[in-house]
Amino acid sequence: MTNHDVLCVYAAMGDLTTQMVAAANASDWEHLQDLEQRMTAHVAVLKASEGMVRLEGEQRARKATLIKQMLDNDRKVRDLITPWMAQLSRLINSTGTERRLVNAYGGV
C-alpha cells in the first residue's frame, strides 16, 4: 500500500461519511447501513496495512483533515440516529401494545 493509496482510502472514507450524513438526513436507514458497511471494510484495510506506511508533511495534514471531517460527520450521523432509534423503540412497544389489545378484545 502506497502513501497515495492510504490517502485515497481516507478520501473515500470521508466521502462515505458525507453520504452517510445525507442518508441519515433522508432517513434512508438501509442505505446508511450499506454506507457504513463500506466504511468498516475500509477501516479493516487500513488496520491491516496502514502501519507500514509513513506519511509526511502535506499528506499528514491531508489525513488529519480527512479524519476530523469524518469524526465530525460521525457525530452528525449519531445525532440523527439516536432520536430515530428512540422513536423506533417506542413504535415497537406501541405496535406490541396494539397487538396485545387486539388479542385481548378480539378486534376493536
Partner: protein, 887 residues
C-alpha cells in the same frame, strides 16, 4: 393512504414518525368505529327483543279464553272446605253440609310374638287383594241375655260400650229394653243396638198332653198374654185342649191369630208335630204361661205332660239377645261389671255381620306370593309394599306379650275401597293354614283380621241434596267446582264472577303493549330534548314490528260469535301518543253485560256444536274460522270376546296366570306383554268380569305404561275384554301360563283390533289417532286438535276456532323471536358483520405485527451499525492522535 412528506430536517423525525403511525393506525380506528356502530344496533335489538320477550311473557296467561272466565269460590267456613271453580261453574251461593270425611280401610292382624320368625310351614301361598264395597252392619252379635235378667233386670254399671256406661236397672229385663238403653247413648258410643227376636224353645210343644180338667179345675194357655186356648172344669182328655185344637186355633182365620199378630208374635211348626215355636220379633221377652186353677190334682196334661201328669201350671220366658252395630264401622269396646248378663263378652272387636263383598272392577287388584323365604310379618309387609297393589303394610307393636301386628291400609279412600284378602295355595295344595288364620279377610266370610278403620265415603249435602264422594276432593257435586273438604260441618260457598281477575288480566295486557310501544319509540324515534337519534331510527325491521303489532290491535277478531270483536268495544283504545288506554266505565259495563265474551277477545277459543266432539288445542298455524266436521269412521277399541257365553259359575284354580298382550305395536314389543295372576275362587259371570279387569289393570307393567282394560258381560252373556285405549294401536291378546286356561273361558274367541277416527274438517284432510283428529300441515286447520268421543259417522256439526288479541300477539312475538324471525335474522346479520370486521381487524393486526418486526430489525441493524461506527471512530481518533504525536 396518506403520503409521508420528508423535509430533510433532523427535527422532523418526530413528525415523520407520528404521521406514519397515524396512517398506520387509521384502519384500526375505522374498524373500531364500525364495530361500535354494529354493537349499538345489536344492543338496540337486544333491548327490542327483550321488550318483545317481556311483552310475550305478559301475554302468556291471557292466551286462553278460559283464563278470563274464571269464577272465584269463597267458602264461609274455610275450616270445613276449600274450593276452586272453572269457567263451567254457575255463579251463586251454595249451602254445603259435610257429615262425614272419606277414609281408607285399615285391617290389623292379631298380635304375634315376633315380627321376624316364620309363620306356618312355608308352603307357597298366594295372597290376593281385591277392592270393593262391604255391606252388612259392622258390629257385634250378642248372645241371649243371661241369668235372672227377666225377673231382676240388669243392675246399673253392668255394661259400658266404648267407655260410656249404659243406664240399666231393674226394669232392664229384656233385650228390647237393653237395646233401648243402649240406643239412648248412641251419640256418645257411636253404637246402635237392636234386639234379636225372642223365640220359645223349639221343643216346648214336644209331648203336649191332652188337657183334662177335674170338677174344680180350669186350664188356660197364654202366649205373650194372648190366650191360645182355655177349658173349664170337668172336661175329659181329648175333649178340650189338645195339640190338634191348638193347631186349629192357629189356623187362619181365627181371632187368636189376629191377637197374636197384634202382639207382634209369629209362630212356626205345629203343636201336633211337637215343633210349634213362637217368636216375638221386637225382642221383648215372650212369656208362655199355663194358668191352672182348682185342686192340686185338678188338671192333667198340657206342656211337657204327654203322660197325663198333674199340671200345676207353668210359666216360661223366652229371652233374646242384642246385636250391636257401629255407626262408623269401627271396633266396639265392651266392658262393665256384668257384660255377660247382657249377652256380650268384654273386649274390643267387631265384624261384618251377614256382610257381602262386591268387587269394584275399576280398582286394580293385586297379588303377592308368600313362601318359605318371606313368611314372617316383616316378609309379608315387604312383599305387599313392593308389589304396589294399592295397600300399604306396616308393623305396629303394642307392647303386650304378643306385641306385633301387621296393619294393612288401603291407599284409596272411599267405601268402594274395602279390602277382601283371599289366600290360595298351588294346584291342589291348600294355602298355609297359619297364614290363612292370620290374614284371611272377607266381609262375607272369615274375618281373621280386625277392621280398625272402615272404608268410607265423604258425605255431604249441597243445598240439601245428598252427595257422596270416594275422596275428600269432591268434583262436580257443584258443576265446575271442585270441593276439598277438611272437616265435618257446614259452610256456604259463594261462586262469583272473578271480575277482579279479568280486570287485572286486561290491565296487564294494556301495560304490556304500552311497555313494548315505549321501547320501540325510544329505539326508532328522535329524542328532541337530548338531540339524539334512537339506535334503530329508520331501521326497517324495527318499524315493521311496530306497525305489525299496531295493525293487529286495530283489526277486528274474526270468527267470534260473542258480543265483542274489537278492543274498542270493551273500552280499550289508542290515545294520541300511541299508547293504549283502558276506559274503566266502558270496561265495567262490558264485564256486567257480557262477562263470558271478554275472554274470547283475548284468548283462543275452540267450540264444537256436537257435545260428543270436544276442542282440544290449536297451534299458531291454525287459521280462525268455522269448519264443518264430517266423520267417516269412528274410533274403536281393540277387544277380545269369548266364543261362548260364560258359565253361571266359573272357578279360577289356584296359581292361575295368563300372559296378556295389551296395545302391542308392529313389530311386536315384549314390553307390551305381562304375566297376570288371577285370584283363585268361584265367580258369577259379573264377578268374573270384575276379577279379570282388576287383575289385568293391577299388573304394574300395564299400569305404569298407562294401559288398562275393561271387562264386561255382553248381552249374549259372553265375556268381553277390551283395551281402554282407542285407535289402531288398541288391541288385546291372552294366552295361558298356568292354572285355569284362557281357552276354558275364551275358547273360540274373536279378537278385534281398534280403529282410528277418520274424517274431514272444513273439507280439509285430517289425521286420526285414537279419538283425536289433527289438522294436516299446510291446510287452514293445521294443528287443530279435536276429540270425537262418541256418536256416529256422518256430518257432525261444526268446529269453530278464533284467536283473540293476546293469542295472536303471542304468536307474533314467537315468530319474531323465532329462529327465522325478523329480530333473529336481523341480529344474526349484525353479528355476522361484527365477525367480518373482527376478521379484518385481526388481519390488520397481523400487518401491524409485520411492521413491528421490520422496525425491530431496523433497530438492531442500526444498533450494530452504531457499534461499528464507534469502532471506526475510535480507530480514526487513534490515527489522529498518532499524527499529532509524530509531528
Amino acid at each position: 393512504m396518506a403520503t409521508i412528506s420528508t423535509s430533510g430536517s433532523i427535527l422532523d423525525v418526530n413528525s415523520i414518525v407520528s404521521q406514519l403511525m397515524a396512517v398506520e393506525q387509521q384502519p384500526l380506528t375505522k374498524y373500531a368505529q364500525k364495530t361500535a356502530s354494529y354493537q349499538a344496533s345489536l344492543s338496540a335489538y337486544g333491548s327490542l327483543s327483550g321488550a318483545v320477550g317481556v311483552f310475550q311473557a305478559s301475554l302468556g296467561g291471557l292466551t286462553k279464553a278460559t283464563d278470563f272466565n274464571t269464577l272465584s269460590a269463597t267458602p264461609s267456613n274455610a275450616d270445613v272446605l276449600s274450593a276452586s271453580a272453572t269457567s263451567k261453574a254457575v255463579a251463586g251461593n251454595y249451602k254445603v253440609n259435610v257429615s262425614q270425611l272419606a277414609q281408607a280401610q285399615t285391617l290389623t292382624t292379631p298380635g304375634i310374638t315376633s315380627s321376624k320368625s316364620a309363620i306356618g310351614l312355608g308352603g307357597k301361598t298366594t295372597i290376593s287383594f281385591q277392592f270393593g264395597s262391604a255391606s252388612g252392619g259392622f258390629g257385634l252379635a250378642g248372645e241371649t241375655l243371661k241369668g235372672p235378667i227377666a225377673s231382676t233386670g240388669l243392675s246399673n254399671g253392668s255394661l259400658t260400650i266404648n267407655g260410656t256406661a249404659i243406664a240399666t236397672d231393674s226394669t232392664t229385663t229384656s233385650a228390647r229394653a237393653l237395646a233401648e238403653a243402649i240406643n239412648a247413648k248412641s251419640t256418645t258410643t257411636g253404637v246402635t243396638a237392636s234386639a234379636t227376636p225372642a223365640s220359645s224353645d223349639a221343643a216346648l210343644f214336644a209331648g203336649f198332653g191332652d188337657v183334662e180338667t177335674g170338677v174344680d179345675g180350669t186350664y188356660a194357655l197364654k202366649v205373650g198374654g194372648v190366650q191360645i186356648g182355655a177349658q173349664g172344669a170337668g172336661v175329659a182328655a181329648g175333649d178340650g185342649i189338645t195339640a190338634a185344637s191348638i193347631d186349629e186355633a192357629l189356623t187362619s182365620p181365627s181371632t187368636v191369630l189376629t191377637a197374636l199378630a197384634d202382639a207382634g208374635i209369629t209362630f212356626t211348626g205345629t203343636a201336633a208335630g211337637g215343633d210349634l215355636q213362637f217368636t216375638r220379633t221386637d225382642g221383648a221377652n215372650l212369656d208362655i204361661d199355663e194358668v191352672v186353677t182348682g185342686s192340686a190334682a185338678g188338671v192333667t196334661g198340657g206342656l211337657g205332660s204327654s203322660g197325663g201328669e198333674v199340671n200345676a201350671g207353668s210359666s216360661k220366658t223366652a229371652l233374646s239377645g242384642i246385636s250391636l252395630k257401629s255407626t262408623d264401622a269401627s271396633p266396639i269396646t265392651i266392658a262393665g261389671s256384668n257384660p255377660a248378663g247382657a249377652g256380650l263378652a268384654a273386649g274390643t272387636g267387631g265384624t261384618y255381620l251377614g256382610g257381602t263383598f262386591t268387587q269394584d272392577a275399576n280398582i286394580a287388584s293385586g297379588i303377592v306370593t308368600i313362601d318359605a323365604t318371606n313368611n314372617s310379618l316383616e316378609g309379608i309387609r315387604d312383599a305387599v309394599n313392593k308389589a304396589g297393589l294399592g295397600v300399604t303394610a306396616t308393623i305396629v307393636s303394642d307392647g303386650s306379650s304378643n306385641p306385633y301386628h301387621l296393619v294393612f291400609t288401603s291407599n284409596a279412600t272411599g267405601a268402594n275401597a274395602s279390602m277382601k284378602i283371599g289366600l290360595s295355595g298351588t294346584d291342589t295344595d291348600p294355602p298355609d293354614s297359619a297364614l290363612a288364620d292370620l290374614l284371611a279377610y272377607d266381609p262375607s266370610g272369615a274375618q281373621k283380621m280386625t277392621q280398625t278403620s272402615a272404608a268410607q265415603d265423604t258425605r255431604l249435602t249441597v243445598n240439601g241434596i245428598a252427595v257422596t264422594s270416594k275422596s275428600n276432593n269432591v268434583g262436580e257435586a257443584i258443576q265446575g267446582v271442585t270441593l276439598t273438604v277438611t272437616q265435618t260441618g257446614a259452610s256456604t260457598l259463594a261462586i262469583s264472577k272473578n271480575t277482579s281477575q279479568v280486570k287485572s288480566n286486561v290491565e296487564s295486557f294494556v301495560k304490556a303493549y304500552n311497555d313494548l310501544n315505549g321501547t320501540l319509540k325510544k329505539l326508532t324515534g328522535y329524542d328532541a330534548e337530548n338531540k339524539t337519534a334512537g339506535a334503530l331510527q329508520g331501521d326497517a325491521t324495527a318499524t315493521s314490528i311496530q306497525s305489525q303489532v299496531r295493525r293487529m290491535l286495530t283489526s277486528n277478531i274474526s270468527g267470534l260469535s260473542g258480543a265483542y270483536s274489537n278492543l274498542g268495544q270493551v273500552g280499550i283504545s289508542f290515545s294520541k301518543d300511541g299508547t293504549l288506554t283502558l276506559d274503566s266505565t266502558k270496561f265495567q259495563k262490558a264485564i256486567d253485560t257480557n262477562f263470558g265474551d271478554i275472554g274470547a277477545l283475548f284468548g283462543a277459543v275452540g267450540n264444537t256444536s256436537d257435545n260428543l266432539v270436544s276442542f282440544t288445542s290449536s297451534t299458531s298455524a291454525t287459521k280462525p274460522g268455522t269448519y264443518e266436521l264430517s266423520i267417516t269412521q269412528m274410533a274403536s277399541q281393540g277387544a277380545l270376546t269369548s266364543g261362548d257365553p260364560v258359565a253361571p259359575s266359573t272357578t279360577i284354580a289356584a296359581d292361575t296366570t295368563w300372559a296378556v298382550t295389551l296395545n302391542d305395536t308392529t313389530p311386536s314389543n315384549s314390553k307390551n306383554t305381562a304375566t297376570v295372576t288371577l285370584p283363585a275362587g268361584t265367580y258369577t259371570p259379573a264377578e268374573l268380569a270384575k276379577v279379570v279387569q282388576s287383575s289385568i289393570n293391577g299388573t304394574s307393567a300395564f299400569s305404569s305404561a298407562g294401559s288398562s282394560v275393561t271387562a264386561s258381560i255382553d248381552t249374549d252373556g259372553k265375556l268381553v275384554v277390551s283395551s281402554a285405549k282407542y285407535g289402531s294401536l288398541s288391541n288385546i291378546a291372552l294366552s295361558s301360563t298356568s292354572g285355569t286356561s284362557t281357552d276354558s273361558l275364551f275358547g273360540g274367541a274373536t279378537a278385534v283390533a281398534g280403529m282410528d277416527v277418520a274424517g274431514t274438517l272444513g273439507g280439509h284432510p285430517v289425521i286420526g289417532s285414537g279419538q283425536t283428529l289433527t289438522g294436516l300441515a299446510g291446510t287452514d286447520v293445521e294443528g287443530l286438535k279435536i276429540d270425537v268421543t262418541g256418536g256416529a259417522v256422518g256430518s257432525r256439526g261444526t268446529v269453530s276456532f278464533s284467536q283473540g288479541y293476546a293469542y295472536q300477539l303471542n304468536n307474533l312475538a314467537t315468530t319474531m323471536l323465532g329462529k327465522t324471525g325478523q329480530i333473529t335474522s336481523r341480529t344474526d346479520g349484525i353479528n355476522k358483520s361484527i365477525k367480518d370486521v373482527e376478521k379484518q381487524s385481526a388481519a390488520f393486526s397481523d400487518k401491524l405485527t409485520g411492521i413491528e418486526a421490520r422496525y425491530r430489525k431496523q433497530y438492531s441493524a442500526l444498533d450494530v451499525m452504531l457499534a461499528n461506527m464507534q469502532t471506526t471512530s475510535s480507530y480514526l481518533t487513534q490515527q489522529l492522535s498518532a499524527l499529532a504525536a509524530n509531528s
